[in-house]
Amino acid sequence: MKLVGEKGVKRILMAVAFSAISALLLITLFIINEGLPFIFKYGIKDFLFASDWNPAQGKFGIFPMIAASLWVTFGAMIIGAPLGVAVALFLSEYAPRPLMKAVKPTIELLAAIPSVVYGFIGVVVLAPFIRSYFGGPGLSLLAGCIILGIMILPTVISISIDSIMAVPRSYREGSLALGATTWQTIHMVTIKASKSGIIASIILGLGRAVGETMAVIMVSGNSVNIPHAATDSVRTLTANIALEMSYATGMHREALFATGVVLFIGIIILNSFASVALRKRTAKR
């Protein structure tokens, strides 16, 4: 029994898509509304490039936090992305199917562990380890990168596996028939075919890393200074927001939202690079 025609379905879907996107738009506007006025009031240069963060004295320079966020994200990506893609490749191309079917949900399980638990393990296991073997207070940039790298693994692995598995068998069979080894097939055919999905997985994972707060607060030390070594304690933009939001009122609070705006813009820039790189790759084909 046809309740709605083809056009009706299209309209319903359009409405659904519209409401979903409106919801996301609402959040964007919210962040901008709460944070942008402050940036104009305080001056964007002082905000972004001063190193003095002292709310009690009305000083709101977030440069050390920007540096920290950049380093932490970069470090997490270096640890999580190659590891994740490697595991995804191994599980989809080399491992026997039942093994992959058992391991994939278990890895997705890692995504459900609350970030505070990761944080706690970081404090109790990782930080002392770093302190003994690498020096410094243990609660550091390095600890943050490692924990974040681990936290983005489920996203990268899961979505990459899906992407790789979606490559039609005929591609692989064609390549093997031409005499290529499995590895040659992987890096010359399969990866190229699933590139879009793999990059999407890394972007989503990276997004999660940039936005992660709880675990980062617990293991990176949260000092307000520019890191000179991986064993230095650092404070990321997200940590800054979450640490002080529960007590912040007035201008302090606005400054924290403005930090959110900066974060948002940073993410936009990050994603722009990624999509440009992606477009170049697909254009070459």
Binding site: E6, F30, T106, E108, L110, I159, W183, T213
Partner: protein, 278 residues
């Protein structure tokens, strides 16, 4: 000098396998760590009684309920919204600037710290829409939080369905919607499920966004406008305020086991579904 491809093959396998072993070791370590500290506390009483003494003693029953309700409702809202948005974007519209902006936007939103979602939810749902600290406010906030992930993964899944399938379906006389329902969605299902699983995982583990919107009441909820506490929030509060280390780990252990069961069940169901369709 060209290296024999068989050698690179062997090296590649070794590296990839090594990476997998490393990751699995980390995974096992984390799980064992939590279970070792937490399982001693977990017994039937722990799971079925209410917390006493601010969580220092007693059980965690209300938090189990909260942990089930919030993600379930959030995903009931976000999944149809996200999947159909993805379907609309990839099947019913042509690739143009608007769709690119939307895709870009959803990618960016996936990176917003959860505390900002929490504050948004607090100001919009709890205060402006006057829902108070409630399941409704919490689920809606979580739904908005996982929406980008669901849209993105569903879109990737839908686009990965080979063009051939669509062409065959159309050539057989099927309409657009019929093709979506009977050809595209079933084939995109694994990818969609991955997105949903990751989102369930994220919702369950979420603390900041939940505290600001669903609150942290320890009472068993009787309506959608009651506040609830999830196990993640409970762990957070117990550990953070130093109330009880053992119970905190007990909560975490319960959480992990519960999620493991949920994930495995979902996959089992999905595999049965796929197998039956042949």
């Amino acid at each position: 000098m060209r290296i024999d491809p068989r050698h690179t093959q062997k090296a590649a396998v070794a590296i990839l396998a090594g990476a997998t072993v490393l990751v699995l070791l980390i995974l096992v370590f984390i799980i064992v760590f939590i279970l070792e500290k937490g399982l001693p506390v977990v017994n039937l009483q722990f799971l079925t009684t209410n917390p006493q003494e601010m969580g220092r003693s007693g059980g965690i029953f209300p938090t189990i309920i909260g942990t089930i309700i919030l993600p379930v409702v959030a995903l009931l809202i976000a999944t149809p919204l996200g999947v159909f948005t993805a379907v609309y974007l990839s099947e019913y519209t042509r690739e143009n600037t608007l769709t690119r902006i939307i895709r870009f936007g959803t990618d960016c939103l996936a990176g917003i710290p959860s505390i900002i979602f929490g504050l948004f939810g607090y100001i919009f749902f709890v205060i402006t829409l006057q829902m108070g600290w409630s399941i409704m406010a919490g689920s809606l906030t979580l739904a908005v939080m996982v929406l980008p992930t669901i849209i993105r993964t569903s879109e990737e899944a839908v686009r990965a369905v080979p063009k051939v399938y669509r062409e065959v379906s159309f050539s057989l006389g099927a309409s657009g919607w019929q093709t979506v329902r009977k050809v595209i969605l079933p084939n995109a299902l694994p990818g969609i499920v991955t997105g949903v699983m990751l989102s369930i995982g994220r919702s369950i583990g979420e603390t900041a966004a939940v505290i600001f919107t669903a609150g942290s009441s320890l009472r068993i909820p009787t309506s959608a406008f009651d506040s609830v506490r999830t196990m993640a929030v409970h762990f957070y509060l117990l550990a953070r305020e130093g109330i009880s280390q053992e119970n905190a780990y007990g909560t975490a252990a319960t959480l992990i086991i519960a999620v493991l069961i949920v994930n495995l069940t979902a996959y089992w169901i999905m595999n049965r579904f796929i197998a039956r369709r042949g």
